[in-house]
Amino acid sequence: MSKFYLEFEKPVQELDNKIIELELSNDPNQSDINSIQKLKEKRFGLIEKNYSGLSRWQRVQLARHPNRPYSLDYINFFSPEFIELHGDRYFMDDPAVVSGLGKLGDKKVAFIGQQKGRNTKENLHRNFGMMRPEGYRKALRIMKLAEKFNLPVITFMDTIGAYPGIGAEERGQGEAIARNLLEMSGLRVPIVSVVIGEGASGGALGIGVCDRMLMLENTWYSVISPEGCASILYRDAKKADDAAEALKPTPKDLMEIGICDRIISEPNGGAHRDFVAAANELKSALLDELEQLSKIVPEDFLENRIQKYDKLGYFQENA
């Protein structure tokens, strides 16, 4: 796949190109090897410096970087034995979400993840990761299966929202999401959710009610996409950068208001620059969370789950 560079990644692109050029030269001498090493150090420093001050909007752009790993990338990396399970048993299979059984380390788990496509053809098939009611019902079916066989559930969120279409409404998009929220809140196995890219609205939350809410470093999660917010509250979709600032949707923001439980750091420059490192980091965080949750009996983690959501809210109450 061709490498894509965001506007603020351009300075890194120059160094990338120089390094590749030197690495590809047929007969690198010692001085070439030294310059490669130097350039790599320079690149590392440059990224460290530039990325420490990313705006929220730039973070949103990283979250939707075309080279960013998607759900299936992580699932296949974690679990070579992964078996995908399809269909909601009522209407159809929704390819915007993948679900199935596999392993994380030596733990048996159920995976559910919103799946974007890498190119136009794939995206048409995956509907750009925008789920329809069938997707939420499939996800719920797999969660119930996991509950029956006592497997923890891991969900990966990566969507700009549930699909707004005629058919989706006719088949009860709202009902499908609502049902998942209700059922997930009482699911008798641990649920760990991770925002691996974008997480917008009920479309993301429909697979995101959980015991532990994790976010990769370069992701966002909010009630609506910055573009959607801009077109409604600024009456101008081009004000998405302002909307991103106002919504405060980054992992750090959400940690401060109590929604995010843990931020998973990404390799220098983002998960798309070193997939294996990113995936390993995520894997160890997930294993750690599952280990902690496995020590709690269902009655307790279910009560904690209710309490966790009941605490989320900021209001005043003066008698």
């Binding site: 549930a162 699909y163 707004p164 279409g165 005629i166 989706a168 409404e169 006719e170 088949r171 009860g172 998009q173 709202g174 009902e175 999401i177 609502a178 049902r179 929220l181 209700l182 059922e183 809140s185 009482g186 609205s201 009920g202 939350l205 429909g206 995101g208 009610v209 999660y221 909010s222 009630v223 609506i224 917010c229 801009a230 409604i232 509250l233 600024y234 009456r235 004000k239 302002d242 909307a243 106002a246 919504l247 405060k248 949707p249 923001d253 959400l254 208001i257 929604i259 789950r305 209710i306 959501y309 009941d310 989320l312 809210g313 900021y314 209001f315 005043q316 109450e317 003066n318 008698a319």
Partner: protein, 278 residues
């Protein structure tokens, strides 16, 4: 613009003759001009076409609860601008404007009271308060209402009217979907009866949470009910939407609500449902 226009300023266009402000309403559905006192006497339902006008929470209190049986609960809950949210307007200003406009503190009021002698907890949303949007206050009020219904072992009724989650509260508004649904799950486990009454409009986050989670789901005639708004869908698919799309009757046909109930018979129908289920 009309083709023929009276040039002589001495004559006034009879259609444009001034009518005392606030005495007449035009029915958005059949265009009839309605005398407001008559309209209000008829529960703000058009005499000609049964169009149900959007009404203030007090109308439902008077309509549903036995006279003087109600206690207003959690009435000191107020929104807080914890994100310091500012778009074209500041969130703090929007709250102040909405409070002045409606005389209410937020987009929901919760009561305990009686319906034909049966105790219930009743929540009523108000679309005129920032589009009936669900932020922390609505989420908290619904959550407390459900907990009260669990404790008192009484049915919970919720008149919904909302454009969805309150964007000005960012991801916290999204979390109210989970917060309320989680409490409803607990209520269901305790055998509680929950009946949402969907009114015009009920969309977005409310549809994707407590709007669609009733044991029995009622809706007023002609109410817009859906997850995505019609404008967003139209933009996405680039074609016109079918007539009656996302209206109560459409949802009934598609199997997503149980019963359409007009305002005049709402109390009796709810009362009957409660007596049959509890």
């Amino acid at each position: 613009m009309s083709w023929f226009k009276r040039k002589d300023k001495k004559f006034k266009d009879p259609e444009k003759k001034s009518i005392p402000d606030g005495l007449w309403d035009k029915c958005p559905s059949c265009d009839e001009i309605l005398y407001r006192p008559e309209l209000e006497k008829n529960l703000s339902v058009c005499h000609h076409c049964e169009h149900h006008f959007r009404v203030a929470p007090q109308v439902y209190v008077d309509l549903l609860l036995d006279k003087s049986s109600e206690t207003h609960l959690y009435q000191n809950l107020e929104s807080k601008d914890f994100l310091k949210f500012k778009a074209v307007k500041k969130y703090t200003d929007q709250i102040v404007t909405a409070k002045t406009k409606t005389g209410e503190k937020d987009a929901i009021k919760v009561y305990d009271g009686k319906i034909n002698g049966e105790s219930v907890v009743l929540g009523i949303m108000n679309f005129r308060f920032i589009g009936g949007s669900m932020g922390s206050v609505v989420g908290e009020a619904v959550s407390r209402a459900i907990q009260k219904a669990i404790k008192d072992k009484v049915p919970f009724l919720l008149v919904c009217a909302s454009g969805g989650a309150r964007m000005q509260e960012g991801a916290i508004s999204l979390m109210q979907l989970a917060k309320t649904s989680t409490q409803l799950a607990k209520f269901a486990k305790n055998g509680g009866l929950y009946i949402p009454i969907l009114t015009d409009p009920t969309t977005g986050g409310v549809t994707a949470s407590y709007g669609m989670l009733g044991d029995v789901i009622l809706a007023e005639p002609g109410a817009l009910i859906g997850f995505a708004g019609p404008r967003v869908i139209k933009q996405t698919i680039g074609q016109d939407l079918p007539k009656g799309f996302q209206r109560s009757e459409f949802l009934l046909e598609k199997g997503f609500i149980d019963h359409i109930v007009s305002r005049s018979e709402m109390k009796e129908k709810i009362s009957t449902l409660i007596s049959l289920l509890t």
